[in-house]
């Protein structure tokens, strides 16, 4: 009796381990394949048969990627928007949160009603577009960073965090004659690194991955982002045969195809996320709990 129970357990465990192993392969292999394809000669990849290791190892894809003004420019725009968008978003969101974290703030009930109503309801894409157009944000770099400067979700999280900071810290600064701005920068921000790091990581990943704004609100070729360029290639590839066409004549000799440039762009897009992943992980269990509250 006892033995058969143990046998059952072994079967059960093997089943679970096999299932999870297969699942892991399904999760990881796509990343791995894209990675090796980016190091393989583009024209050779199109012949197929590459599964575990690049057959014709080359750095040409990366070289052409960096030399191609379109891709290189998109990369720079994406880096710029990620850095400036995160910095400004962090600044405005935490500044407003700091003011609202004062429990004795007058009209705070009105302020919170305004904020929470804005979290529930939105005017939708079309009126939003009209507003952006009227204030001259369309087709400018600012459209990537300005509208997302105040994040209502992180605003509430930051308020909760700031409220936990002991009041004596602020009071002693007040007695020393420090102004609110000085207290915010010198006293509040330095003790708030956990919440600032969480906000920065999530805002940063959001900025880095964002493509909708580049597709909706921008026409200038100079302002396209990395994700938008990838989308463009994918859209074109759905027209049969285009994927086999080489990117341009200069890259033809190097065997670079639009497909190999695309996988290279994908690797370039994924690598920074994998680099910040350990830090994201540290914070996001907290994040998903709050995320589910947001609904």
């Amino acid at each position: 009796m006892l033995k058969s129970q143990r046998q059952k357990d072994v079967i059960f465990d093997s089943f679970i381990y096999i299932m999870l192993f297969i699942l892991m392969l399904i999760m990881l292999y796509p990343f791995y394949y894209v990675f090796i394809a980016s190091f393989n000669k583009g024209s050779d990849t199109l012949l197929g048969g590459i599964y575990l290791w690049p057959r014709n190892i080359t750095l040409e894809n990366y070289k052409i990627f960096l030399e191609d003004p379109k891709w290189y420019r998109a990369f720079l725009v994406t880096v710029a928007r990620t850095i400036s968008g995160t910095a400004l978003g962090l600044l405005l969101t935490s500044l407003v949160a700091y003011a609202l974290s004062h429990r004795d703030l007058l009209f705070s009930k009105t302020y919170f009603t305004v904020i929470i109503f804005a979290m529930y309801f939105s005017g939708g894409l079309i009126p939003y577009y009209v507003v952006l157009r009227s204030i001259g944000l369309l087709n400018s770099f600012a459209v990537y960073i300005v509208p997302s400067m105040l994040n209502t979700f992180f605003l509430l999280i930051a308020i909760s965090f700031f409220r936990e900071i002991p009041g004596e810290l602020k009071e002693s600064a007040h007695i020393d004659g420090a102004g609110e701005l000085k207290i915010f920068f010198r006293i509040i921000l330095p003790v708030s690194t956990p919440v600032l790091a969480t906000m920065a990581l999530f805002m940063g990943v959001g900025q880095w991955n964002s493509w909708l704004d580049s597709a909706y609100f921008v026409q200038s070729e100079n302002l396209r982002t990395l994700t938008f360029r990838m989308m463009e290639v994918i859209n074109k590839s759905n027209t049969p045969l285009d994927s086999i066409a080489v990117a341009n004549s200069a890259s033809a000799s190097a065997g670079v195809t639009s497909f190999s440039l695309q996988v290279t762009a994908m690797v370039i897009s994924i690598v920074p996320i994998i680099c910040v992943y350990p830090f994201l992980q540290k914070y996001f269990v907290h994040g998903i709990m709050l995320g589910s509250v947001k609904g």
Binding site: V34, I50, L92, D104, F121, P127, E180, M231, M266
Partner: protein
């Protein structure tokens, strides 16, 4: 609105007018800070809300924001037009089918994974699998669609090529460019991307189950499957119900895994259009591509109103079920 109450629970400061004024003057810098945020919300949240009026008017983009108020009222003309649009039935069906399929298939996936992970005794392996499983959550949909292309496209897709080479199929499957595959593709890729992320919440719920229950069941001779069925599942029933309710609240956007719009927009093309066109992508096209702003706003508004009703009623139900509001 419990959330509001939670943040504004302050001591009641009685006082006369001049005392209030004194307090306000003392706080004026803080009010400037909040004011910045309020201006922001006014421009980017509240003005677009007023913009909804254009759904009931003959709005022309050349008149800018002012046109929202000055253009002529046409009542429900554009709503009527949408209902009689020759594509109406198709895009409503596509929206509903895609949303329902996601609830049916994408909702149970993280629960299953959480149960499987909970049965793993080797902590290092468990943590490793979990870490890998939520990596795709942080990757852009564009990249995920690019990965699908690298694997599934008819010309360069690795899977297609392997299947043809091994002789399992005669010619490549047009997974990305055929109306027959779009729903499966969308649901499958959404599960791939978001399953691990939502496993976190169910695994947390399982961790909260009292271990002595398992010990007692083992003493009584319950096998592993019996323990899953009679202890783990009932133990996380509350979480399952709450997440299900939330899923139904956001069903038109794709539920738990969301991203109906991203998928329909990115995977959609002229060939799979009969199954991939949904209300949101259609509104986007007639609005921003064809420049029919009032019509697009009307289409968007219909979906928004249904969504808001669903969100509030599901929140109400969740409140009843869990005893606490989710918002």
């Amino acid at each position: 609105m419990d959330l509001e109450a939670q943040f504004t629970r302050t001591a009641d400061h009685g006082g006369q007018q001049h005392q209030l004024w004194k307090r306000f003057k003392k706080q004026k810098v803080l009010h400037v800070f909040v004011g910045l945020g309020m201006i922001f919300l006014l421009i980017f949240s509240y003005t677009p809300m007023f913009g909804i009026l254009m759904a009931f008017k003959d709005y022309s983009i050349s008149n800018g924001i002012k046109g929202i108020f000055t253009s002529e009222w046409v009542g429900l003309k554009y709503f009527d037009e949408f209902i009689h649009d020759y594509q109406f039935a198709t895009i409503v069906r596509n929206t509903l089918v895609l949303s329902l399929l996601k609830v049916i298939f994408a909702f149970p996936a993280p629960i299953l994974l959480a149960i499987l992970l909970n049965e793993v005794k080797n902590m290092a392996f468990k943590r490793f699998v979990q870490t890998i499983s939520y990596l795709p959550h942080f990757i852009s949909w564009v990249v995920v669609v690019g990965v699908s292309y690298a694997f599934l496209s008819a010309d360069v897709g690795m899977v297609n090529r392997a299947l043809v080479e091994t002789g399992l199929i005669d010619k490549p499957l047009n997974i990305l460019t055929s109306p027959n595959y779009f729903w499966g593709l969308a649901v499958g890729s959404a599960i791939w991307k978001e399953m691990g992320w939502w496993t976190i919440i169910f695994l947390a719920a399982i961790t909260g189950i009292n271990p002595s229950l398992y010990e007692a069941a083992e003493m009584d001779g319950a096998g592993r499957l019996a323990r899953i069925r009679y202890i783990t599942l009932p133990g996380i029933r509350g979480t399952i119900v709450v997440v299900l309710v939330l899923t139904i609240g956001s069903i038109l956007g794709g539920g738990l895994v969301g991203s109906n719009f991203e998928q329909a927009y990115l995977y959609g093309n002229s060939i799979n259009n009969p199954t991939s066109e949904i209300v949101q992508t259609y509104a986007f096209k007639v609005g921003l591509s064809d420049g029919r702003f009032s019509y697009a706003a009307a289409i968007d508004l219909i979906q928004s109103v249904i969504s808001v009703i669903l969100i509030f009623s599901s929140n109400f139900i969740a409140k009843r079920v869990s005893g606490s509001s989710l918002f």
